[in-house]
C-alpha cells in the first residue's frame, strides 16, 4: 500500500471517529466557525499529523480558514464488547 493511500484510509477512520466524538460532545460544534475547514492532528501518530499539517498549511496559503484539532489520545479498538463469559460443558 502506498503511503498516501494509507494516510487517506487513516483519515477516513478518524473522520468517522470525529463524528462519534461530536455526537457525544456537541459543545465542540459551537467552537468551530461555520466557514472553517477542519484538520485533525493526532498527537500519537506523528506520520499522519505531519501529513495533515501539510494539508492545513496549503489551505491556509490559499487563504482558507483552518481549525486544527489536536487529538491527544484515542481508546484502543474494541472487537467485542463482551467482558466476561462462562462455559458450561454438556458432554
Amino acid at each position: 500500500m502506498n503511503k498516501e493511500k494509507e494516510m487517506i484510509e487513516r483519515n477516513i477512520e478518524f473522520s468517522a471517529e470525529f463524528s462519534r466524538y461530536l455526537f457525544e460532545h456537541p459543545e465542540i460544534e459551537d467552537k468551530i466557525p461555520r466557514d472553517a475547514e477542519i484538520i485533525l492532528l493526532p498527537e500519537y501518530d506523528e506520520e499522519l499529523k505531519e501529513f495533515n499539517l501539510g494539508m492545513g498549511k496549503n489551505i491556509e496559503a490559499e487563504g482558507g480558514k483552518v481549525v486544527y484539532i489536536s487529538i491527544k489520545e484515542i481508546r484502543p479498538k474494541v472487537i467485542s464488547r463482551i467482558e466476561r463469559i462462562e462455559l458450561e460443558s454438556v458432554a
Binding site: 498516501e4 493511500k5 494516510m7 487517506i8 484510509e9 483519515n11 477516513i12 477512520e13 473522520s15 468517522a16 470525529f18 463524528s19 462519534r20 461530536l22 455526537f23 456537541p26 460544534e29 468551530i32 461555520r34 475547514e37 477542519i38 484538520i39 485533525l40 495533515n52 494539508m55 492545513g56 496549503n58 489551505i59
Partner: protein, 143 residues
C-alpha cells in the same frame, strides 16, 4: 407530518375537535426536521481526508438524542466540491447515496438503522471502496 390521536368518537363535529388530548409527532425522517435548524447546521463540519477529498458531517439532536445525521465524502474537481457518497437517515431510514456528476443518485438502504452502526458501516465501506467510488464518479464525469 403529524399524526393526531383522537380520543373522542369519530362522529364529533369539527368545532369539538379541541377535545383531542394528544398529538404524537414522529421524530425521525427528513420532513420532521425543523428547516430553520437544518439551515443553521448545514455543512456543519468539513474536514480533509486529502487535498481533493473531504468529509462533511451534519447531525441534529433533539432532547439529547440524535434524530438525524448525514456524513458525506466529497471530491474536488476544478475547484468545486462534489458529493461522491453520502450516508444519512433522511426519509426515515438509514441509507447510502452514490452520486454522479450529473446529479443522479443511487440509493441503497442499510440494514442497520442505528445511527452509530450506520456510521461504522460508512467507515468500513469507505475504507474499502473509496477509490472505487471516486473512480466511478470520475468515469461518470467523462461520459
Amino acid at each position: 407530518m403529524y399524526i393526531r390521536v383522537n380520543l373522542c368518537p369519530n362522529f364529533i363535529m369539527n368545532n369539538e375537535r379541541q377535545n383531542w388530548t394528544s398529538v404524537i409527532k414522529p421524530v425521525t425522517g427528513w420532513f420532521d426536521i425543523h428547516l430553520a435548524e437544518l439551515w443553521r447546521y448545514r455543512d456543519l463540519i468539513m474536514l480533509f481526508v486529502r487535498r481533493d477529498f473531504g468529509y462533511r458531517h451534519l447531525h441534529i439532536k433533539e432532547k439529547g438524542k440524535i434524530i438525524y445525521f448525514r456524513v458525506q465524502y466529497e471530491t474536488k474537481i476544478n475547484d468545486k466540491w462534489h458529493a461522491v457518497v453520502r450516508y444519512d437517515t433522511a426519509h426515515g431510514f438509514a441509507h447510502r447515496d452514490l452520486m454522479d456528476i450529473r446529479g443522479r443518485v443511487d440509493k441503497t438502504p442499510l440494514f442497520n438503522q442505528d445511527y452509530n452502526d450506520a456510521l461504522t458501516f460508512a467507515e468500513h465501506d469507505l475504507k474499502t471502496n473509496w477509490e472505487l467510488y471516486k473512480k466511478r464518479f470520475s468515469e461518470e464525469k467523462d461520459e
